[in-house]
């Protein structure tokens, strides 16, 4: 940072030099500090994987084995072959329902948000506020009645219970409506003049311009669905369970067979971690977008 104005006064120059040196040491210091914290953050993940690679007899060995002395994949084999932990089936359940839910949410929310943001009709404001005010009611409040609904509909242990109920949420509409409102009307005007109807405007003007927002909503919705546990825990069981809900029942069965348990945990964590590597950018942008823009 060699700004010309530092030469203005010798006192300032000296001060800047000290500061720069201080800056360098502080940057090294920060690096060391960050490294320490990173080690602590990664230790649980290391321990999860290390335990999963130990034969069951070694997981509680005294003295403790800091790394697997005789690494084995037998825990993974056990998880993958047990009829009580159809991990592959759970993964497919999670993938299918999360994708279907995400697709449906982004589609329905973007259509609704488009109407609210760009079309004129009676009750527009009122409807928007109605939807929005539902966000003041914590989702938990509807857990019990929604569960009874699922019982009555016969949706327990079906994909329906995972796909439809949360699709009516208000967040997506709110977020997209904010974004759609910000798109200049001049861009739409041109298409309108060419005789495009509202659906064409939506498809050819609004959607292409809203890609970041749509991508963000997609990533968030997907991760939320993939990781949700309370609802799946009560509405899907056994072969119909999702991966996290399945792991919860798995934890009941294998409570103290730590090697097997950690193999199951690792297998459950893996898809989310891989997805994270791919979607990292959108996730962080999304947090910025949905977080606060002052």
């Amino acid at each position: 940072m060699a700004a010309p104005w530092v030469s203005a006064a010798p006192r300032t120059r000296a001060a800047t030099r000290t500061r720069r040196r201080a800056h360098l040491t502080s940057s090294t210091l920060r690096f060391v500090l960050l490294l320490l914290q990173a080690i602590i953050f990664l230790a649980p993940v290391y321990w999860m994987i290390a335990t999963s690679l130990k034969p069951e007899g070694d997981t509680v060995a005294q003295p403790i084995q800091w790394y697997p002395h005789s690494p084995t994949l037998e825990n993974y084999a056990r998880v993958l072959t047990s009829p009580d932990s159809p991990v592959v089936r759970w993964t497919l359940n999670s993938a299918f329902t999360s994708l279907a839910f995400t697709f449906g949410t982004v589609l329905t929310c973007s259509l609704a948000a488009y109407a609210i943001a760009r079309l004129k009709f009676r009750g527009r404001e009122a409807w928007f506020w109605f939807i929005l005010s539902s966000m003041m009611v914590p989702g938990l409040t509807t857990l019990i009645p929604s569960f009874i609904m699922m019982l009555k509909l016969g949706w327990i242990d079906t994909y329906h219970a995972l796909i439809w109920p949360s699709m009516g949420g208000a967040f997506g509409v709110f977020m997209l409506r904010q974004f759609f409102t910000g798109i200049p009307f001049e861009l739409e005007e041109a298409a309108r003049l060419d005789g495009a109807n509202s659906l064409q405007v939506f498809r050819h003007v609004i959607v292409p311009l809203s890609k970041p927002a749509l991508a963000t909503l997609t990533v968030f919705t997907f991760l939320g669905a993939w990781n949700s546990v309370i609802w799946p825990l009560y509405v899907v069981h056994g072969d119909m369970a999702t991966l996290p809900a399945g792991l919860a029942s798995f934890q009941g069965i294998y409570a103290t067979t730590y090697g097997t348990l950690m193999a199951g945990t690792t297998l459950t964590a893996l898809p989310a971690l891989v997805a994270y590597l791919f979607a990292q950018r959108y996730l962080e942008e999304g947090l910025t977008l949905t977080g606060l823009k002052e």
């Binding site: 069951e56 007899g57 509680v60 005294q62 327990i156 009560y234 069981h237 056994g238 009941g252 069965i253």
Partner: protein
């Protein structure tokens, strides 16, 4: 409560005779036209495999009945059954655990096994352990036919006992205490009672006394051995504040505090881990935990009935599973009911119970326990004690009382409350819950 996993595989070996028991006098009670019935089995783990195989055999030997089995987890069944019955979509037969059977019977979710029904299916209640049968009986009405049995038992580390100079698994309180003390050594090699003994730093020890369900159920077993119970006899009101209960809490707690044969702050997990890693001589816990011990390299263990730790009997806590008939809508095909009854009878026959138990459960009737095919299994030693197993059921609010009992135990063990206060508060809490439940079951 971790009770679902009955997954320990018995090392029965090739000598196990699948039909060691004679096919005693079974004749199908169903002679009607061909029907299909649905069966929900809530068992996970190895049990599931044996259930599927038994159903296959039933279907093969009964051309006029076809049983379709599905395996939803146990708690799903309990959650969904009421709504399915209300909607007329319930399975023809399902299994339920002991705490769920009577409540569902009283709520009108499942049928009572009336004498005519039992007769129709040729189901002979006399073949089962009475305690098991009574676990699903309330007010003289029976709601389930026992299909398996689990119990509290004492696992012991043979090598560690040998090292401590104990020649056989203890059977009385004195033997138990002596053996447990012989097993206990602190890090400096001192024994309990010796000068300088450091109870906070044990090298090996006698037994792990945990908090939660497992510790509370050990204390409950001692209460039963003292001749007491956590509920009154006829009305099943919660009654914790009794000398028998105080003695039971006191004794089990003293294993930690006075005799120093258990470390403080044990959980069921750490208790198991200590037994597995060869630091603890005895593990008093549910039979279903055996699967965790069998996977442990170098652990040489046996299983014995719970020693007599209380004053009067050798009773141990038990649990069980039942086959039940969900209520059906008017117009339900009587042939299905008849076939379901025959299936239930067949499934719980001695020879089939013997086969089913390979999944890790225990015999539901004396004749199976006596079968010689068990002689070479570690569990055989346990079966002599099955008559002493008392199922914690037989009334509708078992879960409510049990929850409060566990709360009382945790308070007492941790020293948060003294024993009398813990018991009294637990009794008050259970009393409220029972009163509420009573209204629901009217």
């Amino acid at each position: 409560m971790k009770k679902a996993p009955l997954t320990f595989a018995l090392a029965l070996g090739a000598s196990f005779g699948l039909f060691a028991l004679a096919q005693t006098g079974y004749r199908s009670s169903y002679t009607g036209p061909r029907v299909e019935i649905t069966f929900w089995n809530g068992q996970s783990g190895d049990n599931r495999k044996y259930i599927d195989e038994l159903v296959k055999r039933y279907n093969a030997s009964h051309p006029n009945v076809s049983v379709r089995v599905t395996t939803p987890p146990g708690d799903t069944i309990a959650q969904q059954l009421p709504a399915l019955v209300a909607g007329g979509r319930a399975p023809d037969v399902t299994s339920l655990i002991e705490t769920m059977t009577i409540p569902n019977g009283l709520r009108g979710v499942i049928e009572e096994f009336t004498p005519p029904l039992l007769k129709q299916g040729n189901i002979d209640r006399a073949r089962f352990y009475p305690a098991l049968w009574n676990g699903a009986t309330y007010g003289g009405k029976s709601y389930g036919v026992p299909v398996y049995n689990v119990a509290f038992a004492m696992f012991y580390n043979k090598d560690l006992l040998k090292k401590a100079g104990v020649s056989r698994a203890p059977r009385t309180r004195d033997e138990f205490l002596r053996a447990a003390q012989a097993c206990t050594t602190d890090k400096a090699g001192r024994k309990p009672g010796q000068a300088g003994f450091d109870s906070r730093n044990l090298q090996t020890w006698g037994v792990g006394v945990p908090n939660g369900f497992f510790g509370a159920t050990l204390a409950y077993s001692v209460l039963l051995q003292n001749g007491g119970n956590s509920v009154t006899e006829k009305t099943y009101d919660a009654r914790f504040d009794t000398p028998e209960a105080a003695q039971a809490f006191g004794f089990v707690g003293d294993l930690v505090k006075r005799y120093n044969v258990s470390p403080t702050n044990m959980t069921e997990d750490s208790q198991q881990a200590a037994f597995r890693s060869g630091k603890q001589c005895f593990s008093i816990t549910g039979t279903w935990v055996m699967v965790n011990y069998q996977g442990q390299k170098g652990l040489n263990f046996g299983v014995a009935p719970l020693p007599q730790l209380g004053g009067k009997s050798k009773t141990a806590w038990g649990g069980s599973g039942y086959l039940v008939l969900p209520k059906q809508r008017p117009g339900y095909d009587p042939n299905k009911r008849a076939a379901a009854l025959d299936f239930i009878n067949w499934f719980t026959l001695p020879e089939n119970n013997l086969y089913f138990n390979q999944g890790g459960t225990m015999p539901t009737m004396p004749v199976v326990a006596k079968d010689k095919s068990y002689d070479n299994t570690p569990l055989a030693e346990l079966f002599g004690g099955l008559n002493d197993v008392q199922i914690e059921a037989g009334f509708p609010w078992v879960d409510q009382v049990r929850g409060a009992w566990i709360g009382a135990w945790d308070n007492a063990l941790s020293g948060k409350k003294d024993i009398r206060t813990a018991l009294r508060d637990g009794e008050t809490e259970a009393g409220k819950l029972v009163n509420q439940a009573r209204k629901n079951f009217r």
